[in-house]
């Protein structure tokens, strides 16, 4: 069995509080988040020697971001694999710190998806954009929206395992309950003009309008502006930082895509999860808080199964038991910040999974799980029913 390492820790976090930020640029959001995350850690601008970014701003981030910030990093990593990029970055930062290349790694994210009115889920907006690829030529003509791609996973899951819309809805219900306790999430829903901002029921989800069968409006995440930054430091640096360190004890990465005889109900998490849990030397049933990328309710259900919280096909039953809510009897609590469904989703939510997991292990969440010791941050990037990536990070406090 692998020996659990405590070589690198999350020592600074910041989540941009606004979900509508007109007049502010992606770069400005990143720089502000970077400064505040370093402040949170008690570190300074000049301490950063590793820069990790998913290239979501103008130009080539690897070329221009250090210059914009004013850093001279020794390591630059611009892995861009969609919403899970930040779990990949955390994994790479751990590796780079273990090799002694980096002492203070900075992960940055910024997006103005809401202000730009990007129709990420319902636009087919990428069609005809950029150079053609085999994949674009074999998908774009048929009008598959991003939501309908995830919906196809949901349909097949229902067909194979008898999963129901009611079971999926429980994920949205628990997440909204957490959002209502998070003032920034409540403000987000106001700013993004949600109707009936309150706790919701399973019936509310089922009665919301169908967007792509079988996914209803309330099975889908919001599109916001936003951003964030995470500071990851070596053990030596982490000893003197302002906050209690949150150790990265396991990391896994994976990709998955459509295969002729593939099972669409199994995600890349089935590969990244065992690697991360194996490295950490912990089991899913020990995890107190699961921060799982909730682009849609089905994403969470599939990833819970693939990470090993329950058997394949039993996710519907698993989420129907007394868990997910931060005060529930059974582990794990899910997306305690309100998630992408009800708090923050500017297109690539992965960084917020790390941020809220860190809050929980520090004891700073607005839906604090008592004595939380272990958390998982699991990002999914791309499209669950097509090309996608998975990044799994296991986190522990001292």
């Amino acid at each position: 069995m692998a020996v659990q390492s405590r070589d690198a820790a999350i020592v600074g976090i910041y989540e941009y509080p606004r979900r509508r930020a007109p007049g502010v640029s992606v770069l400005q959001i990143k720089a502000e988040c970077a400064a505040r995350a370093l402040e949170d850690a008690g570190l300074t601008w000049k301490d950063v020697d590793g820069l990790y970014d998913a290239q979501d701003g103008p130009g080539m981030a690897g070329l221009s971001l250090a210059e914009y910030f004013g850093f001279k990093p020794k390591v630059i990593d611009t892995t861009a694999v969609g919403g899970s990029s930040y779990e990949f970055h955390a994994s790479h930062a751990l590796r780079d710190i273990q090799r002694g290349k980096v002492k203070v790694a900075l992960l940055t994210y910024g997006s103005t998806a809401a202000s730009d009115a990007r129709r990420i889920g319902t636009g087919g907006g990428m069609a005809g954009w950029g150079a053609p690829s085999p994949l674009s030529n074999m998908t774009e003509p048929w009008g598959m929206t991003l939501i309908s791609n995830y919906a196809m996973v949901a349909h097949r899951h229902m067909y194979q395992y008898g999963t129901t819309s009611e079971q999926l809805a429980r994920i949205a219900v628990a997440t909204r309950a957490h959002a209502m306790r998070n003032p920034e999430a409540v403000q987000a829903m106001k700013d993004l003009e949600f109707e009936n901002i309150r706790e919701i029921t399973v019936e509310d989800v089922l009665n919301s309008r169908m967007i792509a069968d079988p996914l209803h409006l309330l099975d889908c995440c919001m599109i916001s502006d936003g951003g964030g930054a995470v500071v990851i430091a070596s053990r030596e640096v982490a000893r003197d930082t302002r906050q209690k360190p949150v150790w990265i004890i396991g990391a896994g990465e994976a990709t998955k895509y459509v295969e002729n005889d593939g099972d669409i109900t199994v995600s890349a998490a089935a590969q990244s999860g065992p690697v991360a849990f194996g490295e950490a030397g912990v089991r899913p049933d020990e995890i107190d808080v699961a921060m799982i990328y909730d682009s849609f309710t089905i994403t969470v259900l599939v990833c819970l199964e693939d990470l090993g919280f329950c058997k394949k096909g039993e996710g519907g039953q698993f989420v129907s038991e007394d868990r997910l809510h931060f005060q529930a009897k059974l582990k794990p609590a899910l997306n305690t910040d309100g998630g992408g469904l009800s708090s923050n989703h500017p297109g690539m939510r992965g960084i917020f999974l790390l941020i809220e997991a860190t809050r929980q292990l520090r004891g700073q969440s607005t839906s604090q799980v008592p004595d939380a010791k272990l958390a998982v941050a699991h990002g999914n990037g791309g499209q669950l029913g097509g090309n996608h990536t998975a990044g799994t990070i296991i986190l522990a406090r001292d």
Binding site: R119, T122, G123, G124, G125, A127, G128, P132, S133, P134, L135, S136, N137, M138, T139, E140, P141, W142, G143, M144, T145, I147, S148, N149, A151, M152, V153, A154, H155, R156, Y159, R209, M210, I211, A212, D213, P214, L215, V258, E259, N260, D261, G262, I264, G385
Partner: protein, 137 residues
């Protein structure tokens, strides 16, 4: 008239032969002469074994709906006013899975099911190519 659908764009050498064949209403796929496995979407190498000796075939155009969704909201001008329409992955009998639309049903919400048998139906495009869609077999 709705705006035209997004079309495959060229040059794109992997998929160009597939789309050329659609002009003759031929649904094509490849097999690898090295490992005998089915290759789809089309490529110049075999993603199973790395082999570079691939053979083209015509599909008979019959298959089974693996999964689907009925799109109620797509803001793209080609689809915005279509009304609900079904996107699906269809497993062709020759062993390849493709994204497509299920057409030829009265109500896609009620009339499309996973596991239903379908056959290809061509939808000729102004660009000259034809889109392989599927209808109940």
């Amino acid at each position: 008239m709705p705006a035209p659908r997004p079309q495959p764009r060229f040059p794109e050498p992997d998929t160009q032969p597939f789309w050329e064949a659609t002009k003759e209403h031929r649904l094509t796929y490849q097999t690898c002469r090295t490992c005998s496995k089915v290759v789809f979407y089309p490529r110049r190498h075999c993603p199973h074994c790395g082999g570079r000796d691939l053979e083209w075939h015509d599909s008979k155009g019959f298959g089974t709906v693996y999964t689907y969704s009925v799109v109620r909201l797509n803001r793209h001008p080609a689809f915005a006013d279509l009304g609900p329409y079904a996107v699906a992955y269809v497993d062709l009998d020759e062993g390849f899975r493709m994204l497509t639309n299920i057409v030829g049903v009265a109500d896609p919400v009620k009339d499309v099911r996973i596991g239903m048998r379908v056959k290809v139906r061509w939808d000729d495009q102004e660009s000259g190519i034809s889109l392989p869609m599927f209808e109940p077999a």
